[in-house]
């Protein structure tokens, strides 16, 4: 087993864990964290793939940087939506 | 002569590193096991200051260029500063929101 394969499998494992969390959990903040873990899993697969050549693959690294920024944008929006949603439920009660 | 010096330096460096690691572990155990927030803060800050304070000289002995030393010094100063600030804030927050623990 090579290092690349090791991290590929680790990435897939994190992705599955995140997916499981997204499906099974109900608390909004926890679900948002699950999505982030799932994302980390995909990124790990991509970074491991970048490691295959002697010099690491800059394309995959650039794509993961893009992915990270997309992830934080979506997380910020989702968290605000979750918090404001909870507030409004509380107000109604 | 230089070989002997190297050996001493390496030994010294590793013993410093091991001591640093010990303080980190002790601090973590303290964080998990101590009863109230002040004790925990005490344990954690000891770990940061002493642990890092031992780790960094240990690493510095193995450094190969002066700018590495500068970086290590900067790391040490920054962690000390932010650790102290964070600890003070946590303690002050705890004190202002809760009733005092032991002394009135």
């Amino acid at each position: 087993m090579t290092q690349v394969l090791f991290y590929l499998i680790l990435g897939v494992a994190l992705w599955v864990l995140g997916l499981h969390g997204l499906i099974r959990l109900h608390q909004p903040i926890r679900r948002i964290i699950s999505v982030n873990i799932m994302g980390s899993g995909v990124f790990m697969v991509m970074v491991a793939l970048a490691r295959r050549s002697e010099d690491p693959d800059p394309v995959m690294h650039a794509l993961v940087v893009t992915g990270l920024v997309v992830a934080i944008s979506a997380t910020a929006f989702a968290l605000r939506l979750a918090v404001t949603g909870q507030r409004s439920e509380e107000d109604r009660e | 002569m230089t070989a002997w010096l190297d050996l001493v330096l390496t030994l010294l460096s590793w013993s410093l590193l091991l001591c640093g690691a010990f303080f980190f572990i002790a601090g973590t155990v303290g964080l998990l096991r101590f009863p109230d927030i002040y004790c925990r803060l005490h344990a954690v800050t000891k770990a940061d200051t002493l642990g890092l304070g031992l780790l960094l000289p240990g690493l510095a002995l193995q450094a190969d260029s002066p700018d590495r030393l500068g970086t290590l010094l900067l790391v040490w100063l920054l962690v000390m500063g932010s650790g102290a600030t964070a600890c003070q804030m946590l303690a002050r927050y705890a004190r202002e929101t809760e009733a005092p623990v032991d002394d009135p």
Binding site: L5, V12, V16, L25, R52, D57, T66, S73, A76, R80 | -
Partner: protein, 308 residues
């Protein structure tokens, strides 16, 4: 050899334990703190896999800003709604059985799919290496981000802008911060110039070494958030023209570059010969400022317009 595997193995074990703990630990607060640790560990893994750019970005964005956002969200979540309704007892584990089996099945199928991948190689990498000289910057990741695949980066700036616009319509995320204590004030005053210095350094370094607009922007945002929370920085309301200009500047400048390159005949987003270097630096500066301000506003959320 064996100590290499020792390192990889312990990293893997730690990250898996942390991931499971983050998802299923009982207290939401603990979950968030563990998630920040997860982010830091991930940064370590990126460094281990030879991706220092990502390690920087992950430490600043993944662990730092996401952590702040999560803690702010936790602070605004009523205690009654923090609990996960699923954690009710042993029966829960029986009921989650099918989901676990399904997950294992998915894992198994994916395992089969990734097994042959390490032997393959990529044509894109070879092309990227071949054309690096013409890209205008020496660091390959920056070359991909701002030249070879500049359109992705432009769209990603739009994603950030869109998230900001979406958040703008909702309530501010942080309650008004209490007056800062003197020690924090002093430390922030000391830290702020350093952060600006390091941010600028990262941006400048990005053309030849790991670093670049996103890392610099995230770091600057962290500094700005600190200063804003201690009231050392004036409020950044959307009604100030300079705030709008800075937030929109990155996308707008990038799009204008695209428009003009198309107009001048070189082709959409194809920088004219000899101009690639300077243009990329200008775009990076605009993007860094945009990212810094947008992330700051996303976290501290002073963006709601006063409606008359």
């Amino acid at each position: 050899m064996i100590h290499e595997w020792l390192l990889d193995g312990s990293l893997a074990l730690l990250i898996l334990t942390l991931a499971v703990a983050v998802l299923y630990v009982r207290s939401l607060y603990a979950s968030i703190v563990l998630f920040i640790a997860f982010g830091l560990l991930l940064a370590l893994i990126w460094a281990r896999l030879g991706a220092p750019d990502l390690a920087l970005a992950e430490a600043a964005i993944g662990a730092g800003l996401t952590g702040t956002l999560l803690l702010a969200a936790l602070g605004r979540t009523p205690v009654s709604q923090r609990a996960e309704p699923a954690f009710s007892g042993a029966r829960q584990y029986v009921r989650s059985g099918p989901a676990v089996v399904l997950s294992l099945l998915i894992f198994w199928i994916l395992l089969q799919a990734v097994l042959p991948l390490p032997e393959q190689s990529s044509a894109v990498v070879r092309a990227a290496e071949q054309h690096l000289d013409a890209a205008g910057v020496a660091h390959p990741v920056t070359a991909v981000l701002l030249n070879f695949r500049a359109w992705d980066t432009l769209l990603e700036l739009l994603v950030l802008l869109l998230a900001f616009m979406a958040v703008r319509q909702l309530l501010p995320s942080l309650p008004r911060a209490p007056e800062a204590w003197p020690l924090l004030l002093g430390w922030s005053c000391l830290l702020a110039p350093l952060i600006i210095l390091i941010g600028g350094y990262l941006l400048w370094r990005g053309s030849s070494d790991p670093g670049g607009a996103f890392q610099a922007g995230a770091l600057l945002a962290a500094g700005a958030i600190l200063l804003r929370l201690t009231d050392l920085l004036p409020a950044m309301g959307w009604h100030h023209a300079w705030v709008r200009l800075l937030v929109l500047g990155g996308c707008a400048f990038f799009l204008l570059v695209g428009l003009f390159t198309h107009w001048l005949g070189a082709g959409f987003l194809a920088y004219p010969e000899g101009w690639a270097g300077p243009l990329i630096i200008l775009i990076e500066v605009a993007a860094t400022l945009s990212i810094a301000i947008t992330l700051t506003l996303l976290v501290i959320g002073e963006t709601r317009e006063v409606r008359g």
